[in-house]
Amino acid sequence: MAGFLLRRLVNYVVLALVATFLAFTLASVTFDPIGVLQQRNPPPPAASIEAKKRDLHLDQPIPQRFVTWMGGVVQGDFGRTITDRPITDELGRRIGVSLRLFLLGITIGILFGVLLGVVSAIRQYKFSDYFATLFSFILLSTPVFVLGTLLKMGAQGVNDAVGSNVLIFVGETTPGFQGNWFEHLGDRLQHLIVPTLAIALGQIAYYSRYQRSSMLDVLGSDFLRTAQAKGLTRRRALFKHGLRTALIPMATLFAFGFGLLVVGGTFTERIFGWFGMGDWLVTGISAQDTNVTATVTLFVAVCVLFSGWLADVLYAALDPRIRVN
């Protein structure tokens, strides 16, 4: 099994390289940073434009530029942004922001999604099932920016009712906040609640649908009946034998959901003013910045492939039938 996972990992490195190369090439071909520079008013001197061209290696063919950039990446240097700041410095910070924002939301989403799905399945065609279904479909059909805005309004309402700013929905921390680490944590939590809700609600709706159907498949199964025939109560049989088996097909969903969300949360980041990876991609593209775009793409590729790998590991951990092969 370990050998299998190792081989997979090697495959993934190649795939990540290919994805990044494609994104790099596409960005290099379409972006025109010099054109942007020339249109400035007053126009910058010709010498500095030439210098910029050299800095960006625009005199080289694209594959060579990629090799140069990749050479740096291998050594931990992702090049410089168009505004000549080292990408590497910002990368770590941005990844941190994204992870802080999404980790909690996704965890809550998975936990409650599974729970809601299980309840829905057990109480199929009863009121709670219909209610969960309605809740899920409404959330699934609401775009994130609408949900985000609604949540902001709700948070404002709560703040007004309480009479102070309990829920803060702009940024990650209060600028210039002073206090010990505990107060810092409190401040960060105040900022975290609303965006986390925005992420978690959608995730709950999404996972609960899948969990419901995978649980329904298991509910009629013979082994659940066997477990009850052994003397387990229905509830215990449902959780110990039923849910455990129904979680297996969910593994892929969890893994990829995580990988995609970390970079797919552009809207959420922008709405709540968190400057993470999703935000960076948009800024990078609008600034015609090849290096930033390629860096974010590489990060996306790594996330997605890591998710695939994680899915394999999860599968093997959950399902002994996979482990044998």
């Binding site: 082994f223 066997t226 025939a229 052994k230 003397g231 109560t233 002994p320």
Partner: protein, 707 residues
């Protein structure tokens, strides 16, 4: 607590106590779109300690539902009324927590399908240990040790090692053993076995039945065994209850019911099973129609629409169970039961008389000696192997599955060859090779004298006309979106029949298989299993083939329906002079329908020949074991029979034993002196003639009668 404290108590003296289980006037109904389904309607029975009660009935008769009601495992939508007393304690109305203290501790259950009965993600040992831990305060280690002991007790070799295996690493038979181990883990007082052997091969079925007897001996529990197969319960049960449409229609001691059935339905059931031990042509009783819908039962006896003895009085009220022959033990729900008692014939013969079944004649061509008839199919040393590959990107071959390892046989005009063997023996592969009409890996296939290796696509297409197939599952083998007319017409359209001819021929085919042409515009979903199988047969006959390949054509059908389809196949053969290749695992059916039989084991034919010769004087130990494993629906005979129990499961065809492939499970081999054993290990036995038209592949072939 140590393991020794988990041992079984000595069985209590059965005579001293009241019944373990007493069911009184049980009703169970479920909601459905067409109204409430009254699955069980006033069922009463009891089981004494140590007694084995057999419940027999077809699908939908309420036999499984009633036992799930005892376990308290019915879905919450079920409405239950009446009384279920277990050791004097009322179970109906108890909550899940209360019932779960009894389930698995006092009453345990063995289910039908061992493949799905175990949770795939936990080891077998853990699942058995869980059964102990949930009821007793013992350490995990003690429970785990006990699980190993139990696995050993149910005959799993190398139990300590195998306890750590997951269910998918166990064969079907072994999983059923594990389920039985679980069922006896807490020394229960009642074991309910719901079709425990239906999903298993005959040799494994014999092992599992034996094991249930052992389980009964060690626990002293009362057993309720539910089955549709009258053979299974004949030798095992003490008392029998026959169910029909949610009610008991006949109850009594096993011997009484088999010898003197007093309700027409029981008679029909007994008469509808082909007998393994009857040599001469037997008339099979088909019960016409199908079981009634339980949503809206008309007044009167529910069996009346299918009953040959029906009179007007049958439609007025549903008959209760009457005492018959002046005994309170034997009761039957039929107002004409005394008239049945007046017939002289016994058991199945009475059924033949009452239902008016007839022996179906041989086709004209059968009068011509076999050698002079045309050969419709000939296989010569046919081989089919599958590569076992490993690796995702770079596949490498790590082994070969020898699915079919050089088999030869021929089928003549108007003849039925039965091909039998356990699952995994290569029956289906052989069939697919024949139907594929492609050049085999090695050996030859000839259809009507044409060698299929040397023909082009056009000729191959022409040959397909002469050969057709009927599949096992009538539900899956008809396209649900085509009308019956289109289903039957399709082969003719493909082969370029004119529209007029098709429209003339389709109704004709419908009548031929005993269906009404008015139903042609309907869809397969509107037909029952037996009717669909008839449609499948009509489709197979559309092109007037010479050879019909039948892949387990009746194994998915209920017994009473099965007899009708077998009779139909025989009639068609007689009328149309067809040749059949009949693939089946049910040897009784094969004996009834086949002229010759070939027994396969691990890709080889071990014995082949004229059907009576092979069944009456089997030479190969495998054939003997196979035959002896099949229960006969005759309690007296069944109890006297000595079973040859094969040990273990079929070896992997990827790694067959050297020399004789059967030697690893062969009782004869085991009894031989070492120098003779060496012959079995080193030399593959050739097929040798043992009697006229009877060959067997065994170095030490000898006759052993097992029926």
């Amino acid at each position: 607590m140590t393991t020794s404290e988990l041992q079984f108590d000595a069985p209590a003296d059965p005579a001293g106590e009241g019944p373990v289980l007493q069911v009184e006037d049980l009703h169970v109904s479920f909601p459905s779109e067409s109204g409430r389904v009254r699955a069980v309607r006033g069922l009463s029975y009891q089981v004494s300690p140590g007694e084995v009660l057999g419940i027999v009935g077809e699908s939908g008769s309420g036999k499984s539902v009633s036992s799930l009601a005892v376990m308290g495992l019915l879905p919450s939508s079920a409405r239950i009324s009446g009384s279920i007393k277990f050791q004097g304690r009322e179970l109906i109305g108890q909550n899940d927590a209360e019932l779960s203290k009894i389930r698995g501790r006092r009453i345990s259950m063995v289910f039908q399908d061992p493949l799905s009965a175990l949770t795939p993600v936990y080891t077998v040992g853990d699942q058995i240990a869980e059964a102990i831990l949930v009821h007793r305060k013992v350490s995990k280690q003690a429970a785990a040790n006990r699980a190993v002991e139990l696995l050993d007790l149910v005959g799993i070799p190398n139990a300590a090692e195998r306890a750590k295996a997951f269910p998918h690493e166990f064969s079907g038979g072994m999983r059923q053993r594990a389920v039985i181990a679980m069922a006896i883990a807490n020394d229960p007082d009642l074991i309910i076995a719901d079709e425990p052997t239906t999903a298993l091969d005959v040799t494994v079925q014999a092992q599992v039945l034996q094991l249930l007897e052992t389980a009964q001996e060690v626990t002293g529990a009362g057993i309720v065994i539910i089955t549709h197969d009258l053979g299974v319960v004949a030798g095992f049960a003490d008392r029998l209850m026959v169910m029909y449409a949610g009610r008991a229609v006949e109850t009594g001691l096993v011997d009484d019911i088999y010898r003197q059935p007093r309700m027409p339905y029981t008679l029909g059931l007994l008469g509808s099973i082909p007998r393994l031990d009857v040599g001469e042509k037997q008339a099979l009783v088909p019960i016409k129609g199908q079981p009634p819908s339980l949503t809206d039962l008309p007044p009167g006896c529910p069996f009346a629409p299918r009953c040959p003895m029906v009179v007007d009085a049958c439609h007025t009220a549903e008959p209760p169970l009457f005492d018959v022959d002046g005994s309170a033990e034997h009761r039957a729900a039929c107002i004409r039961t005394n008239e049945i008692a007046a017939t002289d014939a016994e058991g199945a013969e009475a059924a033949v008389e009452i239902f008016g079944a007839e022996v179906i004649g041989e086709p004209q061509v059968a009068k011509v000696p076999r050698e002079q008839r045309e050969t419709v199919l000939e296989l010569d040393r046919l081989v089919k192997e599958y590569a076992v590959n490993k690796g995702v990107v770079f596949k490498r071959r790590v082994g070969t599955v020898h699915a079919v390892a050089g088999i030869s046989f021929d089928i003549r005009e108007g003849e039925t060859l039965g091909l039998v063997g356990e699952s995994g023996c290569g029956k289906t592969t052989t069939l697919m090779e024949i139907l594929g009409l492609q050049k085999p890996m090695s050996g030859e296939i000839s259809v009507l004298g044409t060698n299929v290796s040397a023909i082009d696509a056009k000729r191959r297409f022409e040959i397909r006309r002469d050969m057709s197939v009927v599949f096992q599952d009538p539900m899956a083998s008809l396209d649900p979106r085509l009308t019956i007319h289109d289903c039957i017409a399709e082969p003719m359209q493909v082969h370029g029949y004119g529209k007029d001819e098709i429209n003339r021929r389709v109704p004709e085919l419908m009548r031929l298989v005993g269906l009404r042409p008015e139903q042609l515009s309907r869809y397969p979903g509107e037909f029952s299993g037996g009717q669909r199988q008839r449609i499948g047969i009509a489709r197979a006959l559309a092109l007037e083939p010479k050879l019909v390949v039948l892949d387990e054509p009746v194994s998915a059908l209920d017994v009473s329906i099965q007899a009708g389809v077998i009779n139909l196949l025989e009639e068609l053969k007689s009328k149309l002079g067809l040749a059949y290749l009949f693939v089946a695992h049910d040897l009784s059916v094969v004996r009834h329908i086949a002229d010759r039989v070939a027994v396969m084991y691990l890709g080889k034919i071990v014995e082949i020949g004229e059907v009576d010769s092979v069944f009456d004087t089997p030479r190969h130990p495998y054939t003997q074991a196979l035959l002896s494993a099949i229960p006969i629906p005759d309690p007296v005979k069944e109890r006297q029979r000595e079973r040859i129990l094969l040990t273990g499961d079929l070896p992997s065809p990827a790694n067959p034993p050297s020399g004789c492939r059967f030697r690893t499970r062969c009782f004869l081999h085991a009894s031989l002196p070492p120098e003779k054993q060496r012959v079995c290990i080193e030399v593959e036995p050739p097929r040798e003639t043992q009697a006229p038209d009877h060959e067997a592949a065994c170095h030490f072939a000898q006759i052993r009668q097992v029926l």
